[in-house]
Assembly symmetry: C2
């Protein structure tokens, strides 16, 4: 239980009520996520991480890169990725990587305490990158002379290792932020950025209780910092009200969430709170990606979390507010992947 | 047989001998490939084509984009793509898209007469993009308002159609060129660009007969123009000398090439001549991607095409020449894909 902080207890522990002081929890996106001491940012490491992110040779059979599912040309990730991943046993919606450095845990069930741990885990997962072991990964990368040089530049005299591959990728991912949303400009003082509907939506977002979980710089609970150590997740039950029409229609409870990691019955249908930044760009919704339409998603949240039937007008106002959470996506230039002249490092047989 | 021009007859028809006039066939990469009258370039069309190229929503289940296999971050394409494609019935090496506009036919077996035809074919191919029919594709794209606007800008009052999707993608692909290789600078007059070894290699490349097929702007035979209409392919037999150790080892003749399209026995193991531009960056080699190492590939070509055992020193010289064919890859900025606010256009069920 040490790493499990539940919304309500969190608010109790810091002695505030979400209902009365909610607007204190509205914060603009900082210039940078919290950078761990064990993996400082550097230009060399970011450049290397970007190459690795786009390199299919990091997968066992040389066909899948990070970008294959977490498509940085899109705001969301591979749309409907839950679909053909099902055949490989992956039934969860691919999370967006934008602003991901502001999370304190990784995966829907928070089973990785850091971006580094998540990346290393993905590389070896037979359902994802399927690199059978670290030796195979290291052998493949060290066969490419420009990668050897790039690792040397990024990690000094340290060797190529799965930890360093993961560190470089995480370093790049921490640059994937979308600042200057209309909401950010609003909270910094430019009150003209929110329309009347969006302002009504923000009030509803607080009054209905949404903000009690979706607060903080990423609208996903506390970011790592004094209140929450990196690796300590911020969790909620979804659905809170069980047995609804929606639960049945969208099969929400087919997946028991964090319980699958801990086997603690108290963790059944507990999930890491998701970010709402860029939410109108990241359909489909929920852990299983079962809901295509954000209006339906808002209705579902109202019903299954608060047992409250929201009106269509309220849905429109909340949506107007959520639309202001779309930030400015940085321009990304494709890296050029190093090639070992005249040699493929993938075993074709 | 109309569209089938075989190397030897081509040379006869223009009244030249490759052996004596070969250097006339060395040409720098032009500024642009031949643009078909039926699909002129425009900035609007190129920008739309770039978005479509990176958009996974163009595949049936919303998980694969053109860039998934033809990875523009790489010089080659998805390395070893022949690998896990086998499960889907695709046993051929993904061709590089760089300078692809300079080809006169598409696919290893030249079954598409244009880039437009190839793109349209890929969209519907159940093994590739698996869009079950045009209606599904059109419905999905027209559900995204920014795409509707982009199609209007690119194609005036014409509707979204599979032909226009393919045209936009082809327009973008015709911008994917790598000019200014050392070879190009050499042939334009800067003789210092080729080392002594590379110059020996070029002489060998001519003397051994390589140039008799790998000539022209793309080292793949004639580009579309007076000598060859777009859609008329330039073909060769591979292997020419049958029954070698290499043929058996690498299973080259498991695939009968153009015969699979025409069922004409004369087309058995006939293939479109491949480009050699950027060849040291595009391992693995040959139609089935079975050969990882370019030195082995050079030896194989010598043996199975000319029944000639090449020396290691000759291999090194030819490789030194081939290394000069690597051009300058343009910087590509990722497009931002249009999203329909709060809505996924992929059916999750």
């Amino acid at each position: 239980m040490r790493s499990l902080i539940i919304c309500v207890t969190f608010f109790m522990s810091i002695g505030l009520s979400a209902q009365t002081n909610a607007f204190e929890y509205l914060q603009p996106l900082p210039d940078s996520p919290v950078i761990p001491d064990t993996n400082l940012q550097s230009n060399a490491k970011i450049a290397l991480g970007k190459q690795l992110f786009f390199d299919v040779r990091l997968s066992g059979n040389g066909t899948v890169s990070c970008n294959s599912c977490h498509n940085l040309a899109a705001s969301a990730d591979a749309e409907g990725s839950a679909l053909n991943m099902k055949a490989r046993g992956i039934t969860r919606n691919t999370p967006s990587l934008w602003n991901i450095g502001h999370m304190s845990t990784y995966y829907w069930d928070a089973r990785a305490p850091s971006l580094e741990a998540q990346a290393a885990d993905h590389l070896l997962d037979p359902r994802i990158m399927n690199m059978s072991n670290e030796l195979k990964l290291v052998k493949r990368i060290t066969a490419i002379s420009d990668y050897r040089a790039a690792f040397k530049a990024a990690f000094k005299d340290q060797k190529v290792s799965i930890q360093n591959v993961a560190k470089a990728i995480a370093t790049f991912e921490r640059t994937l932020n979308t600042p200057d949303s209309r909401f950010d400009l609003y909270i910094k003082g430019d009150k003209s950025q929110l329309s009347k509907a969006a302002k009504r939506g923000l009030t509803l977002f607080n009054d209905k209780g949404c903000l009690s979980c979706h607060f903080g710089v990423n609208f996903a609970g506390p970011a790592p910092g004094p209140a929450l150590k990196m690796g300590d997740g911020f969790y909620e039950m979804f659905p809170t009200y069980r047995g609804t029409y929606y639960e049945e229609k969208y099969h929400f409870t087919d997946d028991l969430g964090r319980y699958r990691v801990t086997l603690d019955p108290e963790h059944k249908v507990m999930w890491r709170v998701s970010s709402l930044r860029n939410i109108v760009d990241t359909a489909p919704y929920f852990h299983n990606g079962a809901v295509n339409d954000i209006r339906e998603a808002i209705k579902i949240m109202s019903k299954v979390q608060f047992n409250f039937d929201i009106t269509d007008a309220e849905v429109e106002d909340i949506l107007a507010f959520l639309e202001t959470l779309t930030g400015k996506y940085p321009e990304i230039t494709l890296p050029r992947l190093p090639e070992e002249k005249g040699l493929s490092v993938i075993d074709q047989h």
